[in-house]
């Protein structure tokens, strides 16, 4: 008997016992649904991280550190030998001259010292603390600053203006009204002191930057107290009034903590502020040691391919180099484990479904023993009977796969919707947590049909071995 003939008979049989077919298929649907939603969460997370990397040009960025040992310490691998002085005499100073040199190296488009310091900011008396970061105005031409939500990147390194992040605004109790997410303030919000604002309204508004500085001479007299955060340090606070030049884009939840600062200041403007260097203790100490060495220099290259050779030459020069692109590989390994765990949960669901198929089909063979006997009596070969049952399992698997994909999709939509309610409440941008890739669709179908066929193997063999004489005996 031909394959299409078997398929026709199999579908006929399945149609005749609708309820049973439905319930068996439902088992597979749930199994595949679980698998798809789980795995799509894993791939969704991975996709988000990779996209965040791309969005922030992390594949073309690296950080230069004063010495190799330092880079290793940051990666958490090497250990500083005890008793070794922090400021090694042989270490090359990462000073203004070094930055100048790095700027001329092949592939480099931007290089600037990374300056980060804590500030208090205030707009119309609404205060918040954050990390400020200094950047040259050329960064306005690069992701993610090439597109702002409102306003524009500062034009010069001496501009008296800043770029502010939506997150910081939120901390200052501003609720941004966005075109795609119209949001009204609730009574509760108003009571808490929230105020709604369109991003454009904020452009040009004055913003106060409050910085702290330390009397270094006194610090050196009592360094232990300084490092242990003693309260007797002579901090001096100063307020500088700048203006808001632009509001940054909402970045999705993943970039926020890692790659974003609350407020970005032009390079020269930031240098002129009296402040406490905070990026590392190293920074603090090297400042006092006479030679001005930066803690970190941020470097951006033209193309991804420029990264590796540049890294090599910087390391040859004695600098430490960290590129987050390296860490993406570690991320990916982590995700592989994550996916495997999620996939395993889905697979267990599918194994249960497979047992359901075996159970249903064995039951159905018991019920259809006479019919099998009849088919044998009129000339059906064992291969024919096997084929019919095998195809039945395959059809259940395929239908289960298709509807399971639909179920999985529906589950991810609902879960994503719910998750975004919370994300929005926290002031984050809309995020897609799940990603159902074409490979996942194909894989789920193949897996569903494969597992179902495997489950149908034993029942099909049993059906083929039914003894027709016994099956047809009238009792």
């Amino acid at each position: 008997m031909k394959m299409d003939e078997m398929a026709r008979m199999a579908v006929d049989n399945l149609r005749k016992s609708r309820l049973r077919t439905f319930l068996t298929t439902l088992g597979v649907v749930i199994g595949i649904g679980a698998l798809v939603s789980m795995v799509s969460f894993g791939t969704g997370m991975q996709k988000n991280v990779t996209e965040t990397f791309l969005e922030n040009d992390l594949f073309t960025s690296l950080q230069v550190l004063p010495a190799k040992a330092d880079a290793e310490r940051i990666r958490g691998q090497g250990r500083m030998p005890a008793g070794r002085p922090l400021s090694r005499p042989d270490s090359i100073a990462l000073d203004a001259a070094a930055v100048e040199k790095i700027r001329t190296m092949p592939g480099v488009t931007v290089a600037f010292p990374e300056v980060r310091f804590p500030v208090k900011v205030a707009i119309e008396g609404r205060e918040a603390t954050t990390n400020a970061r200094a950047m040259p105005s050329v960064m306005g031409g690069f992701k993610p600053f090439d597109k702002l939500q409102a306003g524009s990147f500062f034009e010069s390194d001496t501009a008296r203006s800043v770029i502010i992040s939506p997150r910081l605004l939120r901390n200052m109790k501003f609720v941004l009204i966005e075109p795609d997410r119209p949001r009204k303030l609730t009574v509760e919000d108003t009571l808490k002191g929230f105020r709604s604002a369109r991003p454009e309204e904020l452009i040009g508004m004055p913003i106060d930057i409050v910085t702290s500085s330390v009397d270094f001479s006194q610090l050196m007299r009592n360094p232990v107290a300084a490092l242990s955060g003693g309260s007797d340090l002579p901090f001096a606070e100063r307020t500088t009034r700048l203006r808001i030049a632009g509001v940054a884009k909402q970045s999705d939840g993943f970039g926020q903590g890692l790659f974003e600062s609350g407020v970005i200041l032009p390079m020269q403007t930031a240098e002129s502020l009296p402040r406490l260097g905070f990026s590392s203790v190293w920074d603090l100490l090297s400042r006092t040691g006479g030679t001005e060495s930066y803690g970190t220099v941020y470097v951006r290259v033209k193309r991804m391919e420029d990264l590796a050779p540049l890294k090599k030459s910087l390391e040859d020069m004695g600098f430490g180099v960290v590129s987050i692109a390296d860490q993406l590989e570690d991320f990916k390994k982590g995700f592989l484990v994550f996916d495997a765990v999620l996939g395993a949960v889905g697979t267990i669901a599918l194994v249960v479904a497979a047992l359901g198929i075996i159970n249903t089909m064995v039951m159905s063979i018991l019920e259809r023993r006479r019919e099998i006997g009849i088919m044998k009596a009129v000339g059906a070969g064992e291969g024919d009977i096997k084929g019919i049952f095998f195809v039945e399992a395959g059809v259940i698997g395929f239908a289960g796969g298709v509807f399971g994909l639909l179920l999985g999709w529906a589950v991810t939509r609902v879960a994503n919707g719910i998750a975004n309610i919370y994300i929005a409440r926290e002031g984050g941008a809309h995020a897609e947590l799940f990603y159902i890739s074409p490979w996942l669709i194909l894989g789920a179908l193949v897996f569903s049909v494969g597992v179902s066929l495997a489950a149908g193997l034993y029942p099909a063999m049993r059906a083929a071995s039914v003894n027709p004489v016994e099956a047809l005996r009238h009792d």
Binding site: M1, I374, A377, G379, V469, L472
Partner: protein, 233 residues
């Protein structure tokens, strides 16, 4: 002329746990082409076992069954399926129609296994059924038919692949005497008009005598007697 069916020293032993049940213990007889032979005997004497072995549903423990020169005892399982498909047609006491299928579908079923193109099957089934006076029942399922109608559908199914041998195991056992007579007349007509060889098992010797050329009487798995009633045409 060579007999269409030659049975020699046929033995069949069933193993029921430790116990051995001898259903057939050395049966030998021939059936000529065009003959109508009835196997009679008490219940449990081995009639069905004999017929199932001839039909290729069961296999002998020893001895030979040669149908048209081919020994069933030497056939593989798939060859036996081929034998059931195209050499013999079987009719049972309990009809054994598939309940969810219509008369036409039931009759067309064997054609699916013998590779007849799908579009040719229902017409062939319908033609056979119409020839048996079932034109008004073509699309009825077995539960909507009388016993006599159902058994005629079963006969049509047995004939659809043009077998050389029709095997009927108590085909009238579930029917009232009038309907039983009609079925016997149908089998007789098939035998006489088409020259179809028929081997029938019957517990009703009187009716069997009316339609058969010969009786083979079994007793405890052996041939007790053979009775020649009339000569085949």
């Amino acid at each position: 002329m060579e007999p269409i069916l030659q049975i020699r020293h046929l033995q069949k032993t069933y193993e029921r746990g430790r116990e051995h049940v001898r259903a057939l213990s050395g049966v030998s007889f021939d059936v000529a082409e065009g003959e109508f032979v009835s196997i009679v005997g008490r219940s449990g004497c081995g009639k069905s076992t004999l017929l199932n072995i001839i039909g290729g549903l069961d296999v002998p423990s020893s001895g030979s069954v040669v149908v048209r020169g081919r020994n069933l005892a030497a056939m593989s399982r798939s060859e036996l399926a081929g034998h059931r498909r195209s050499t013999v047609g079987m009719v049972f006491q309990s009809f054994n129609l598939i309940p969810s299928r219509t008369a036409v579908e039931n009759v067309a079923l064997p054609l699916a296994f013998s590779g007849v193109p799908r579009k040719n099957r229902p017409p062939k089934a319908a033609r056979l059924l119409t020839g048996m006076g079932l034109k008004s029942r073509l699309n009825h399922v077995p539960s909507e038919m009388s016993g006599g109608e159902a058994q005629r559908v079963a006969v049509a199914r047995a004939l659809v692949n043009d077998p050389v041998l029709l095997l009927a195991d108590e085909p009238t056992g579930n029917l009232d005497s009038r309907t039983a007579g009609e079925i016997l007349d149908l089998l007789k007509a098939l035998n006489r008009e088409r020259g179809l060889t028929v081997v029938m098992v019957s517990h009703d010797e009187a009716s069997a005598r009316r339609v058969s050329h010969r009786l083979v009487r079994l007793l405890d798995g052996r041939i007790q007697a053979q009775v020649r009633l009339r000569r085949p045409a």
